[in-house]
Amino acid sequence: MRFAVPRFMISEHPFPWLFPLIAMLLVFAVFPLAYNIYLSFHEFAIFKRSLVYVGWDNWIKLFNDTRLNNALFINTVYTVVCLTVQLVLGFLVAMLLDTDEKGFGVMRALFSLALVIPPAITGMLFKLMEDPQFGMVAWLLDKFNLLSRDVPILATPQLALIGVMIADIWQWTPFVTLIFLAGLRGLPKEPFESAMIDGASQWTVTTRFTIPMLSKVIAVVVLIRGIDLFRTFDYIFVMTSGGPGIQTYTLSFYTWKQFAASLKWGYGATLSLLALIIINVAASLLIKLAKIKW
């Protein structure tokens, strides 16, 4: 004797398979999103200790908030510079390591070491190394006459952001390298061999064959790294706390400050929605243009 199971509960129907995921997404993605939208039309009134309706105020504030402009500028610089450096360095190192020679497997394993360190701890490590009094990086820069040790990297307005970017670049270049390495491994051998026989130089082969054939890999790296770079928070939090002044306020850090320090819950939510919109639009465009598929 069999129970009559409703049609949507049988395993041929997608519902039972997707239900846990959908429930999770509803509670932890759709609900926060809706809550954020609700919050963006309210503001926490400290004296009343409750939320009051403020209409479009928070959204209008976005357009004449100089600190937001500053944060967007810093975010753009941070994302573009880190992404460019990581792509170039990552590609060069991948070219260097792409061989079946003995010992290179160990190097590739060592490269994955950086990926498992919590970014907050990486931030602390580089804070120590960039310390003007006893930091190794500061000492090396001084030795090579690039930067005097009298200049504290993370406390100088023009240098603080670079100091943070060094940590990011150190930690995530290996990530790019590993992905490019896999990409290089997947390339067919024939075009390269025939190009070499025709007497093409290494440079020509790299720019005319390797890079174009890796275009999809590059697009995926730009997408994943770009999203993460635009959301940068950990390094800023532990290395500079946004300082000196507001020189290293990224959008995420500014949002967090508005929320946690200024208790501007409504404006914080509005800022986080802005970040979401920017990332979503940019990422969707990239996915469309580069035809990245899942």
């Binding site: 926060p32 939510a269 986080s272």
Partner: protein, 295 residues
């Protein structure tokens, strides 16, 4: 094809690059076993120092440095109080990372199976929605969760953080597992269906056993991302629990940073994660790109 000279040169350059990459980690390890007087000195002492286990003892065994002899240490000694014992924080990290990994992998294997095997309306949109949750800035989720958790009592609890980390890792797990499941040819399903198998049986008898390594790789990455996550733990916990990345702030005191203990904790936290990642080397890149690149 290349001359011996070129090969040797390449090996040399590759090792130099690798060593430069590893140098900060090596330096961090030395900080964890160096006395303060050897840390606060230039040129940096990379080899010529007398190692000490004081910091590891303080962080892992709760042997307070006060009990250890004073004169054996540098002039600066330990700054701040004796809040260096970090095993409870490592346990918190472990509970959170393991539980959220189990949750996310069980949910994601089911969903990935449906996305890989069944055909239904709006499937591509669904995949895209899952992907777009990866684009949510953590702050955007953390603010509403903080306020909600406060009012329903999940604030500062393990469950609260576990659920947040589960959410964070869902897009990675679903997309990656889908890419693994797509590797199993559909003909196998068809043959099984002709033999009278249901989709549940295909899942249990065919997909799960053949995709064990893929699921393991997914689990490892989810574990690592939870293990290293910072913002959710920062915003959703207060005093009862802390994971390692946030716990490091305990070493940053008003009288200075306890670099030795901080480095010891960092090294202790690095080891399990590194072992895990070595176990999945083969599928690492596929995981890091959420399954969009397979080789």
């Amino acid at each position: 094809m290349y001359s011996l000279k070129a090969r040797v040169l390449r090996i040399a350059v590759a090792w130099i690059v690798t060593l430069i990459m590893v140098l900060p980690i090596y330096y961090w390890v030395t900080v964890s076993i160096k006395r303060d007087k050897d840390v606060f000195t230039l040129p940096p002492k990379l080899f010529n120092f007398a190692p000490t286990a004081d910091y590891f003892k303080a962080v892992l065994l709760d042997i307070s440095p006060v009990q250890q002899s004073i004169e054996s240490r540098g002039s600066l000694g330990f700054s701040g109080g004796g809040m260096s014992y970090m095993v409870p924080r490592l346990i918190d990290s472990m509970i959170i990372a393991v539980s959220s990994t189990v949750l996310v992998v069980s949910m994601a294997t089911l969903a990935a199976f449906a996305l890989s095997r069944l055909r239904f309306r709006g499937q591509h949109h669904f995949v895209y929605i899952v992907l777009s949750t990866r684009m949510l800035p953590p702050v955007a989720v953390a603010i509403p969760l903080f306020l909600t958790y406060k009012s329903i009592g999940l604030y500062d609890t393990h469950i609260g953080v576990i659920l947040a980390h589960t959410m964070m890792n869902i897009p990675l797990a679903v997309l990656l597992l889908k890419s693994f499941f797509d590797d199993v040819p559909l003909e196998i399903d068809e043959a099984a269906i002709i033999d009278g198998a249901t989709y549940w049986q295909i899942f249990r008898r065919i997909i799960l056993p053949t995709m064990r390594t893929g699921i393991a790789a997914t689990a490892v990455l989810c574990f690592i991302f939870s293990w290293t996550e910072f913002l959710f733990v920062l915003m959703l916990t207060a005093t009862r629990l802390k994971t390692v990345p946030v716990a490091t702030s305990a070493f940053v005191t008003s009288t200075g940073t306890q670099w030795g203990s901080l480095a010891a904790l960092g090294v202790a936290a690095l080891i399990p994660a590194f072992i895990f990642i070595l176990l999945v080397q083969k599928n690492l890149v596929r995981g890091l790109t959420m399954g969009s690149l397979k080789h």
